[in-house]
Amino acid sequence: MEEGNWILATVIRAVALGTPILWGTLGEITAERSGVINLGVEGMMILGALAAFVVAHLTGQPTAGLVVAAAVGGAAALLHAFISITLRANQYVSGLALTMFGLGLAGLLGRGWEGRPLLDTLPEISALTYAGLGVAVALWVVFYHTRWGIVLRSVGEMPAAADALGVNVALVRYLAVAFGGVMAGAAGAFLSLAYRPAWTEGMTAGMGWIVIAIAIFAAWDPLRAVAGALLFGALFHLSFRLQAWVAPELLKMMPFAFTILALAATAGGRRGLGAPEALGTPYVTGER
């Protein structure tokens, strides 16, 4: 385990920690591409983590836990969709509320599940990891090379124009937000089934916010999200490896600062850092 293995070890850790971050980020990017920001990632993730753990514990089937977690994440996201799309409430407030609601509800329902070992777990580097990379590529293709992608992006950029062309803005947004929830729920499942197979209240410990930051600094690009998630995973791990030589107080900020700097510095490409034009704005038919 000496220097020769540094690179390999770091890559493995980057992939392991990067997987849940990537899943969450891809979901958030999709939702934001449709013009709906969802600050409820943390809440959806933790509900997914609890659901996955409980189902896997009861059935002995971690895969069943994963599926249920995705469904729970999607359902939680529909709550945000209903409030922010149908009721046209402030997206930021609704998302924050979802985070608080998710953390609180999971804490309440999770009572008694802490301190229980899980016998049937998922491996850390697994089909989920590759699926995350696959989804990233697929989303990139869909966003930039299919009609669906044009519809999604136009709803996020100019919903009035899309509406005029006959696109059902609300439906597209609902689907995008629900997809975001499914991905966040699955990310939570990865945490409680593979990354650290156990339930503890508050176990996401802020990962939902990292996801939102990477979604923004990846400039809403699925492939850049892969780079961001892996970079964050690698730097987070290295921040502990390097403690033997560098002051730990400095290293604590490193993964956050470097990931954001790196993503921001390389964002000057063809799409730049521009957010979807209608991001955060509820759409009202006929209004501009």
């Binding site: 301190g115 650290r196 508050g202």
Partner: protein, 383 residues
């Protein structure tokens, strides 16, 4: 004859009614810094509260969880309005808020965990692990094959440093060449950080693990690599039955029951707490050695620990298993015939911290900033 029945009936009624009238309930409030589902610090305090309530029929308890440090006063006030006569605040950061409330409510009783400020109506209490960490260190020193043990630390504060140093003293008592590699995560609870810190320590060649963090993450990560570890705070042996050697367990109920009983009996009042400081260790049974209650050493490791032999100044040549049991027995007696922080102790820079034969005082233990010999890694605020 009839009159006798009447008298009997009266006595019976009086007998039934009397305890009801005399039985004044005592209401105690508990203020927690974390969620009770954390399976760590707050979980353990809440277990203590529940056991006290079960054991003491006259006790009624209320609690509030996840109270931010620095905002404790309004919560104390609400508890007093709800009728609490005793309020426990269970985080170091609640110290000044509790003191302010104690001054504002001179007739109520307060007790603050892990702090050092007291008042005539405010006591302090702590169940400390340093002796248990020393015993864990003895075992770790015997079990390491690479000579590198590991410790994932929460914050570099005196409490954690004291535990880390006790662990390191134990490791070196058995294995004078061994080292304790440290990584800090700067959080009490963060599974991802605990996980990556453990991975970093594994990559650095460490092969036995102890830690301070409120989740079984370190235990789980070590077990995946087939490496032994020591549980922290809650029973964690079940998370890795073949890899958890031992660990530290807490019994806050011992302190809560003792304190509340004395309040109920009138021995503790809102006037005589200025010198009441529970600093409870193995002897008071406020802490326990083990990864599971009643199991000081996982039987899986018994043979290995019995096979490892070591020379000691006072007990001669002895197996590490027996050494652990002897030291445990010595510290579990009220006389405490052994304490890990007994001089001569020099820190890792060579400065004398305890002269030969002298034991560190509680004040010295609770303000410890130096690093014990064998500790390798960053040590913020090292003197």
């Amino acid at each position: 004859m009839r009159r006798i029945y009447l008298v009997l009936a009266l006595v019976l009624v009086a007998g039934l009614a009397a305890p009801g009238a005399a039985q004044q309930k005592l209401k105690a409030g508990f203020i927690y810094v974390g969620p009770i589902g954390d399976y760590g610090w707050t979980h353990a305090h809440d277990e203590g509260r529940r056991l006290a309530q079960q054991r003491l029929p006259w006790l009624e308890t209320i609690y509030v969880e996840s109270v931010p440090e620095g905002q404790v006063e309004p919560f104390i006030e609400r508890m007093i309005q709800q009728g609490a006569r005793v309020v426990f605040t269970t985080s170091f950061g609640f110290m000044d808020g509790t003191l302010a409330a104690a001054r504002r409510y001179p007739n109520h009783i307060f007790a603050h965990a892990s702090g050092f400020k007291r008042n005539r109506n405010m006591a302090t209490y702590m169940a400390d692990f340093y002796q248990v960490y020393y015993l864990n260190g003895l075992m770790a020193g015997a079990l390491t094959k690479t000579g590198r043990t590991a410790y994932v630390g929460a914050f570099p504060i005196p409490e954690v440093k004291r535990h880390l140093n006790a662990f390191a003293l134990g490791v070196r008592a058995v294995n004078p060449q061994a080292t304790v590699h440290v990584r800090w995560i700067f959080e009490w609870f963060n599974p991802a950080a605990a996980k990556e810190a453990t991975e970093a320590l594994i990559a650095a060649g460490a092969d036995v693990f102890a830690f301070t963090e409120d989740s079984p993450t370190v235990v789980q990560v070590a077990a995946r690599r087939n490496l032994p570890s020591f549980g922290h705070y809650s029973p964690m042996q079940k998370f890795a039955p073949r890899h958890v050697v031992s660990g530290q367990l807490v019994h806050w109920d011992r302190i809560y029951i003792d304190f509340l009983s004395k309040v109920y009996a009138g021995r503790y009042t809102a006037d005589n707490l200025a010198d009441v400081d529970y600093w409870w260790l193995l002897a008071e049974k406020a802490v326990e050695l083990g990864g599971e209650p009643g199991v000081p050493v996982n039987p899986v490791f018994r043979t290995a620990l019995q096979a490892a032999r070591v020379n000691t100044p006072d007990l001669g040549r002895i197996s590490v298993y027996d050494l652990v049991m002897r030291r445990l027995a010595q510290m579990a007696t009220p006389q405490m015939t052994f304490d890990p922080f007994t001089g001569p102790i020099r820190d890792r820079k060579g400065t004398l911290r305890a002269p030969a034969g002298k034991r560190l005082t509680v004040a010295e233990l609770t303000s410890m900033e130096w690093a014990a010999p064998g500790v390798v890694g960053p040590w913020p605020k090292e003197p």
